[in-house]
């Protein structure tokens, strides 16, 4: 399951949703809004997405995770809109028979999301200025 949402992410429900009797492990990753980036204070973030492409890329990552690991289930949710410091921006939950697989698969899903999925954040400072973050490599470049 992959989803974009403007509502707070219920990560407890997400972890419950991937639990599976054949799986002895659930790995849950939460990305949360940090107050400091390289000495720069962030008051809140704005996230925006190219919705249809973001959903397609998330679905492709889900399919790749299912190909590479013995997945019970996998769920990825990214939040959009204004998020205050401490709020959850992304959640990835993966269940597998064993913990190593679950942790590896969860890490791959988050890392690939951050490389490929067309979602952007704007860091908003206390002085009212905001800046889009475009520091990663050219997306999609192999």
């Amino acid at each position: 399951m992959v989803r974009l949402t403007r509502e707070p992410i219920d990560y407890h429900a997400l972890a419950e949703a991937v639990r599976d009797p054949h799986c002895g492990a659930v790995a849950l990753f939460l990305g949360t809004v940090r107050d400091l980036t390289g000495g720069q204070v962030t008051v809140f973030l704005d996230y925006e997405a190219y919705g249809p492409m973001a959903e397609k890329k998330l679905a492709e990552i889900e399919a790749e995770v299912r190909r590479r690991w013995p997945i019970g289930d996998v769920a990825m949710v990214h939040r959009l809109g204004r998020l205050d410091v401490g709020e959850v921006s992304v959640a990835v939950a993966v269940s597998c028979p064993h913990r190593g697989e679950a942790i590896d698969a969860c890490r791959f899903a988050v890392d690939t999301l951050k490389e490929l999925v067309p979602i952007w954040k704007k860091e908003n400072a206390p002085d009212g200025t905001g800046e889009w973050v475009h520091q990663s490599a050219k997306p999609g470049a192999k």
Partner: protein, 81 residues
């Protein structure tokens, strides 16, 4: 042919709108589109060099030909997560 290029984040701010209509000859490629965007929006040149072009929701290489009615978007370096 006329293509509408969707713009996001800093690219949208620099262009002053969430899309840009560009005129390209038939058979034009992604590389031709990049050149036209750079010509139309000099302020965008720096970001454009770091950005991908997406066609129909997939990343497209520079030699990919474009056709009218395809959904084209400029994808600056992403920062989700």
């Amino acid at each position: 042919m006329t293509l509408t290029v969707m713009l996001f984040a800093a690219a949208r701010d620099l262009a002053g709108g969430d899309s840009l209509s560009v005129e390209l000859p038939a058979g034009a490629t992604v590389a031709d589109l990049r050149a036209e965007l750079a010509r139309r929006l000099p302020a965008l040149a720096g970001l454009l060099a770091k950005s991908a072009i997406a066609v129909n929701h997939d990343f497209a290489e520079n030699d990919r030909p474009l056709a009218k009615n395809e959904e084209v978007a400029l994808i600056p370096p992403v920062s989700g997560g």
